[in-house]
């Protein structure tokens, strides 16, 4: 699940909770999912400064990401 998906889902969850149509058990379930997704989003943001990498095609056709030669 990508950061983008997490945030989009969190927005949907917040909207659903803010509406008044939700049965309570559903609201609790969504809240729990929201907390999990907040954790995952926060973890994604919490990564270290990233180095610029290069996408390289190996001889056998597989693609790997390597540090850029400097």
């Amino acid at each position: 699940m990508s950061f983008e998906d997490d945030l989009a889902r969190l927005d949907a969850i917040a909207r659903a909770l803010e509406g008044d149509r939700l049965p309570l058990d559903e609201a609790l379930r969504l809240f729990e999912e929201g907390v999990a997704r907040l954790r995952s989003a926060a973890a994604a943001l919490d990564t270290a400064e990233s180095k610029v990498k290069q996408l390289v095609e190996e001889a056998d056709g597989t693609l790997t990401v390597r540090d850029t030669p400097k």
């Binding site: 943001l45 990564t47 610029v52």
Partner: protein, 384 residues
């Protein structure tokens, strides 16, 4: 001993003369630029092009060999004024001189414009220019692939801007040649790799500014098609001022420069963090409101049913104990909203069972916006 052709006895064969002409012409005239007007253009199935260049007084036959046509932007139109670079050849079978052209430009930008328009039309016919095709650019990409030259200024600009906005966003360079004859194939290869890899949330494809010739690979129809086929949203960033490239037209977003592309791609980290914090707050507030409302609903429900109807509560214990869907189902306001009605006795107590009704007796029916006076005609319990 007389030289060939010097006397009737040493007369040349025609073929010898043709060979002589060929040797002299081809051996002594260097490749040169010629200016003239195109007439009688014909592209043969072999791939070679034949036409005549002329001016007011003279004309010369011209050929563009198939292998050289790829370098021409487009076929010249009848009457187009061109400058052509080529060498003189003699077609020995007819002792005819022709100009073998390897490069050609229309005066003004005729050929460039024509090539561009032709390719644009084909992309349009295939629906690739349809604005409805454009995908939204992800708002929070974590990995951005950059298809460009690893040595170009464009990459440095993109890295600098992206770093400034959010140093944790990963940038993966997909190296490509971005100018010259090998650029189109190289760009297509890089786009193919990034499509296959699928590790990026977003692809920026571009290069810094340059002459029209330098930028021409981004007007290559097949490169544009590769951009259009990319399964990941694309931003084109071909550094040029006025002209739009074919890649710009098919990309999901066009940025005027590589720096602008990075700005459009990478949100400022502080804003993203604020957004996450705001969302967390929204969740907490919404849930606590919902919980408060649930408590209120419960209190109301108990008051409504009262001690007299405790039996009903017992019977439907699951509804209340779970504090879940049953809360909603028991909450009169919410249920009525959905198009149900509540039957009540004169004293206001709800009638929820068929056995609460007696034929001939009156009761009132509460609907969303008022009450209805009603009378029971007959009761029909479910038979199990």
């Amino acid at each position: 001993m007389t030289q060939p052709g010097e006397a009737p006895e040493s007369a040349m064969d025609v073929s010898m003369l043709a060979g002589y002409i060929k040797a002299v012409v081809e051996g002594s005239v260097p490749p040169l630029w010629v200016r003239g007007e195109v007439t009688g253009f014909k592209a043969y199935r072999s791939g070679h092009w034949y036409f005549t260049l002329r001016d007011a007084e003279s004309q010369i036959r011209c050929v563009v060999w198939q292998r050289d046509t790829a370098r021409m932007r487009a076929q010249p139109d009848e009457g187009m004024h061109v400058v052509a670079f080529g060498r003189l050849n003699v077609y020995a079978a007819k002792a005819e001189i022709q100009l073998s052209i390897s490069r050609m430009e229309a005066e003004g930008d005729g050929l460039w414009r024509k090539a561009f328009e032709e390719a644009r039309l084909r992309l349009d016919v295939d629906g690739l220019l349809d604005p409805a095709r454009k995908r939204p650019i992800p708002r929070y990409p974590r990995t951005i692939a950059v298809v460009t030259s690893p040595d170009g200024a464009a990459l440095q600009d993109i890295i600098a801007v992206a770093r400034r906005r959010d140093p944790t966003v990963a940038i993966v360079v997909v190296p490509a040649v971005v100018q010259g004859d090998s650029a189109p194939a190289s760009l297509r290869g890089a786009l193919k790799r990034v499509s296959k890899w699928r590790g990026a949330d977003l692809v920026i494809v571009g290069r810094g500014g340059g002459s029209r010739e330098d930028l021409w690979a981004f007007n290559d129809e097949r490169v544009a098609r590769a951009v259009a086929a990319c399964p990941i949203p694309t931003i084109s960033a071909v550094g040029h001022e006025v002209d739009v490239s074919l890649c710009d037209l098919v990309a999901d977003l066009r940025a005027a420069t590589p720096s602008a592309a990075a700005e459009a791609a990478v949100p400022v980290r502080a804003d993203v963090q604020a957004e996450v914090t705001r969302t967390a707050r929204r969740l907490r507030v919404a849930l606590s409101r919902r919980a408060e409302r649930a408590r209120g609903d419960l209190v109301r429900t108990q008051r409504e049913f009262g001690s007299r109807a405790r039996r009903v509560i017992e019977m439907r214990r699951a509804w209340i104990v779970s504090l879940s869907a049953s809360l909603d189902a028991l909450s009169p306001l919410r249920t009525l909203d959905r198009g149900y009605a509540v039957a009540r006795r004169e004293d206001g107590t709800p009638m929820t069972s068929v056995f609460d009704f007696t034929a001939g007796d009156g009761f009132s029916l509460v609907v969303r916006d008022g009450k209805v006076d009603a009378r029971t005609i007959a009761t029909r319990p479910d038979t199990e």
